[in-house]
Amino acid sequence: MKPRQRRWVFLAAAGGFLAFYLWGLIGLPGFGHYPGPYGDIVNAIAVAQTHATGVVSAVNFEYRGFDTLGEEFILFIAATGVATVLRHLRDEHDIRVVDEARDRQVPATSDAIRMVTLAFTGPTLVVGWYLASHAQTSPSGGFQGGVVLATAFTLIYLAGQFIAFKRLSPIHFIDSVEAVAAGSFAVVGVAALGLGAAYLANVLPLGSSPGAVNSSGTIALISFFVGVEVSAAFVLIIGELLEQTLVIREGGR
């Protein structure tokens, strides 16, 4: 189809689609009228059952923990896929990383920016760590924490320290860390099996009172592994993409 033609064909079909979709959407109970029962029941029982005051984390890491296992592996496999697709072929040469950093076309990072971004790295790490380790209490969790941790590593790059970034994140090592973290999540579930409980059952002590940092058993543990996995995955993905901007000469087509 030619672009113009396609646009008109699409607009006609999309009109039909939009009408159809809206026909379904107006059948919803109306905004603000969540009908339940799933969410209401979880809200009612989660705190007592799991000792986690953040019910979203309780759902993510316990009631629907198996979804999260799949989700972590989606991210893990995406990172593996990125590494696969961006791997270097024999006919591609990259000039040494050391040369590269000097050769970059961006204007040299000013000392002020360098100072500011490096100064931000520490707090970012702290925030990320806090988020990843407080899934059970407040609106946070391994995923958000992991992303923030990965951002901290990226700040090091923004400060113009690509070499430091490289040194902190050698691909194979990060890949291993990511795999170990993702695997540990799966192993937590297997441990429950070994104790005769169901897969991913919360077999750890739930802690004294809801809301404490050491409460909620496996929720906190899984959240921690997710945090490590997510931050490693993003560091890997961004590292691979960064490295691409450095590959100068390609062979082949």
Partner: protein, 114 residues
């Protein structure tokens, strides 16, 4: 108000699809796919919203306070991860496509046909 959020959902989805089919740049197309997916977050969270209810965190509020549905929020979180994963992979494809084809225009990628 009762259907307005859902009309917005349908609009975001359709606009995103329009962007995909008219796109002449792979990065643009990937961004349009992100827009398509963002309609699902709004739909999920819109479906689980309760007027006047609080966020499902019972750290400093009594357990019987009406709270919005935590399940859709967990689903939306999963959805965000899926988005990040798929986008990462697509960006890698786009980088590789530019290396091999020298262009990012989907209309110009004509290796496969028939």
């Amino acid at each position: 108000m009762s259907v307005f959020p859902f009309v917005v959902v349908a609009w975001i989805l359709t606009v995103g699809l329009y962007g995909i089919i008219t796109s002449r740049h792979l990065v643009h197309q990937i961004v349009c796919l992100i827009v398509v997916q963002s309609s699902t977050y709004v739909l999920l969270l819109g479906v689980g919203y309760k007027t006047g209810a609080v966020a499902p965190y019972f750290y400093d509020i009594p357990g019987n306070t009406p709270a919005v549905d935590p399940v859709v929020q967990a689903l939306a979180l999963t959805d965000v991860v899926v988005e990040a994963a798929v986008t990462a992979l697509l960006v890698a494809f786009a980088v590789q496509a530019h290396k091999r084809f020298g262009t990012l225009d989907p209309e110009e990628l004509r290796q496969l046909q028939g």
